[in-house]
């Protein structure tokens, strides 16, 4: 630690902010309330989300199609197993990457492929050779079509970004309305002991760095599949 520089910088900051800056739109009348409560209020500004469960599900589906996320809403484990087997055959999967999770374990076993579990600490090099990374998540967000996951819920940091295809398995009760709800969930679930890593994933990896033309699969997965289970399995 370099306490000296810490105190020097903090000292400069304290000296600098002795005079308060004018508040945004001070005295303009229109937005006079300076004590804006976020996120409670930000919900009233951000794009709106239907209040009912079906409306949310439809919004999520619509967002996925805009983002080119493959979205499958299935009624139970058997349906999910069949959908995964279908993907396995189509994409000729050879090796799977996954993590242990009660919802994932039967599905992964049903595929009958060589599987690397992150709990066994495979090398990055081996994980990179996986055809697919199959993970659970913390929540899905209807407003943006996002997946919220953490190092604790989805097998660490690399599994969901290193293989060329990321498959997320979630249950329908994990679908949240909006971003404020997602951050509330993080706070409630992990507030006293956060994982070191959390991420909001919104669609497959993409870039527009060449002539602003959209290309999928820049460095992360080119394919993103969300399998949503209708009944809590």
């Amino acid at each position: 630690m370099n306490e000296g520089k810490r105190e020097a910088i903090l000292g400069r900051i304290r000296e600098a902010v002795r005079v308060a800056a004018p508040r945004p739109h001070e005295g303009s009348g229109r937005y006079d309330s300076n004590a804006i409560e976020v996120p409670q209020t930000s919900r009233e500004w951000l794009p709106s989300v239907p209040l009912d469960a079906e409306g949310r599900l439809n919004l999520f589906r619509e967002k996925c199609s805009q983002l080119r996320t493959e979205f499958r809403f299935l009624s139970g484990q058997e349906g999910a197993a069949a959908a995964l087997a279908d993907l396995r055959n189509k994409q000729k999967w050879t090796v799977l990457g996954s993590h242990h999770h009660p919802m994932l374990d039967p599905l992964v076993q049903s595929l009958g492929l060589e599987t690397l579990y992150v709990e066994q600490h495979p090398q990055s090099k081996s994980l990179e050779r996986c055809s697919v990374g199959i993970t659970a998540c913390d929540a899905l967000i209807a407003q943006t079509g996002s997946i919220l996951l953490t190092a604790r819920s989805a097998g660490g940091r690399a599994l969901s970004v290193l293989p060329p295809h990321h498959v997320v398995v979630a249950s329908v009760d994990q679908l949240l309305p909006d971003l404020p709800a997602a951050f509330e969930l993080l706070y409630e679930k992990y507030g006293d002991n956060y994982p070191s890593f959390a991420t909001l994933i919104t669609g497959p990896s993409r870039t527009g760095d060449i002539e602003r033309i959209l290309v999928l699969g820049a460095h992360g997965p080119r394919d993103l599949t969300i399998i949503l289970l209708g009944t809590n399995a």
């Binding site: 930000s42 993590h99 991420t199 033309i213």
Partner: protein
């Protein structure tokens, strides 16, 4: 020095402004952005209120920055993050170079960080003998060209696919391609094993969360995630002004940044990092270092009038909207941060007298202020910088010119008479133009002196 930066700007601006290909490229690149951004904005229930809310949160954090920073680093340190306070660029560079030495690093992978451009980190690491690889596609391209990023958010927006194809062919010996997708895959393949080989990953930070002690990184490609997941050591470099109070504030800032920056509702990956790998986690870096950089930010903070310039979330919206940026291009500025925000903050970060010319790189149209998602009063700050520059070192020729102007306006009859006398001389101005002194010659180089009317308005009015 002042002569050099200002004159370089002028020479470069004159050249690029006349380059019609350049203008067409920038216009084409921004066209799809503008459409997408406007569509996204229209989906907000109240875009203006969202901007105001974001500005209020930034106001709150900057005006109590000391307290939020202390919270932030206390929480980070508690979970094993090593925090280093860097007063200036040199201290930040020295710390990171020393760390690379201590870790016996060979390869260093970087995800996009403008702050590292500000402190010229790549040069320092390369001089110390390390291989530094930029992993963001745009940054990777400009690094291969040996150039600085052209734009805060779109580093390679000045290049066509053909130029990029030629570059990859020359430097990476890849087959030429007309398709952005194939070109992207060349870079992907090239960089895949760099992530795995790299000993250290360096990233920036878009936000620091005081409440929970986390940094937030916004990106689209996944290079930021790989950079912070695979190497054993992760170093994040962050300006002290990036701290916001609460985790839930991100529910507002992440969509605002994406909408203003790229016209997305939210970018592909928004990651939170609050420490090195914890004992119950399967992977992640063993060490996480956070370098907090002042580098004259506290000076700007001390200017209450312009403190809101530190609200900046580096979305680049003001660049995209700026008629000057669109004509002179990103490289002309000669600064790390281009466009209106760069013109406002560079004089604070690098010296008013050397960089005051940027205050005039504006039409004062206010398009920047209007698009800014955190409501920085950009074009007014350009005026403030002009005023401050004049106050701290008045220009005698400017003062003489204004005295003359004040004198003449007091004697309209005299102006009338002077105009009548000089009327036959106007055609000769074109002839003597090359030998006129600098400011007049410059002004006339793209303009013709208007003809003086045979009869002045005053004379006409009198006769009526």
């Amino acid at each position: 020095m002042s002569f050099t930066f200002a004159s370089k700007f002028k020479i470069q601006a004159t050249k690029v402004t006349a380059d019609l290909d350049h203008r067409a490229k920038i216009r084409a690149a921004l066209k799809s952005y503008e459409t997408a951004r406007d569509e996204r904005k229209a989906q907000y229930q109240d875009w203006q209120a969202a901007r105001h809310g974001a500005a209020s949160i930034k106001w709150e954090s900057l005006n109590h920055l000391d307290a939020y920073l202390v919270d932030f680093v206390t929480k980070l340190s508690a979970r094993g993050t090593k925090v280093f306070w860097a007063g200036n660029a040199q201290e930040a560079r020295d710390y990171i170079v020393a760390l690379a030495k201590e870790k016996r690093a060979h390869t260093i992978i970087k995800s996009k960080t403008m702050t590292s451009e500000e402190i010229h980190l790549n040069e320092a690491l390369r001089q110390a003998g390390y291989e530094v690889v930029e992993s963001d596609l745009g940054e990777f391209i400009v690094q291969l060209r040996g150039e600085a990023p052209y734009h805060l958010v779109f580093p390679a927006m000045h290049l066509t696919r053909h130029e990029i194809s030629d570059l990859f062919h020359e430097k990476l010996h890849s087959a030429p391609s007309e398709h952005p997708e194939e070109l992207t895959m060349i870079a992907r393949k090239e960089l895949r094993f760099k992530y795995i080989q790299a000993d250290i990953g360096i990233s920036g930070a878009n936000f620091g969360i005081a409440e929970t002690g986390m940094i937030s990184i916004t990106e689209n490609e996944g290079n930021g995630r790989l950079t912070t997941a695979l190497p054993k050591v992760h170093v994040a470099l962050m300006g002290i002004e990036k701290v916001i109070p609460r985790l839930s504030d991100l529910a507002l800032f992440l969509p605002l940044l994406a909408t203003a920056g790229t016209g997305q509702q939210i970018t592909c990956y928004n990651s939170l990092i609050g420490g090195p790998r914890q004992s119950d986690e399967p992977d992640g870096p063993d060490e996480f270092h956070l370098v907090l950089l002042d580098n004259n930010r506290t000076q700007l903070l001390a200017d209450a009038e312009q403190r809101d310039a530190l609200h900046c979330i580096r979305c680049g919206a003001c660049l995209n909207a700026c008629p000057i940026f669109r004509n002179v291009g990103g490289h002309t500025y000669g600064t790390t941060y281009q466009g209106p925000i760069g013109s406002v903050i560079t004089p604070h970060l690098r010296g008013l007298m050397d960089w005051k010319h940027l205050s005039y790189a504006s039409s004062l149209c206010g398009a920047c202020t209007e698009v800014c998602p955190v409501k920085i009063n950009l074009h007014h700050h350009l005026l403030h910088n002009r005023r401050n520059a004049v106050a701290s070192r008045p220009d005698p020729s400017e003062r003489a010119a204004f005295r003359l102007f004040a004198f003449l306006t007091r004697y309209p009859g005299l102006v009338n008479r002077l105009a009548r006398i000089s009327r036959p001389l106007v055609p000769f101005v074109r002839v003597v133009k090359p030998i006129l002194p600098a400011p007049i010659k410059g002004w006339l180089s793209s303009r013709d002196l208007p003809k003086i009317a045979r009869e002045s308005f005053r004379d006409y009015w009198k006769k009526r």
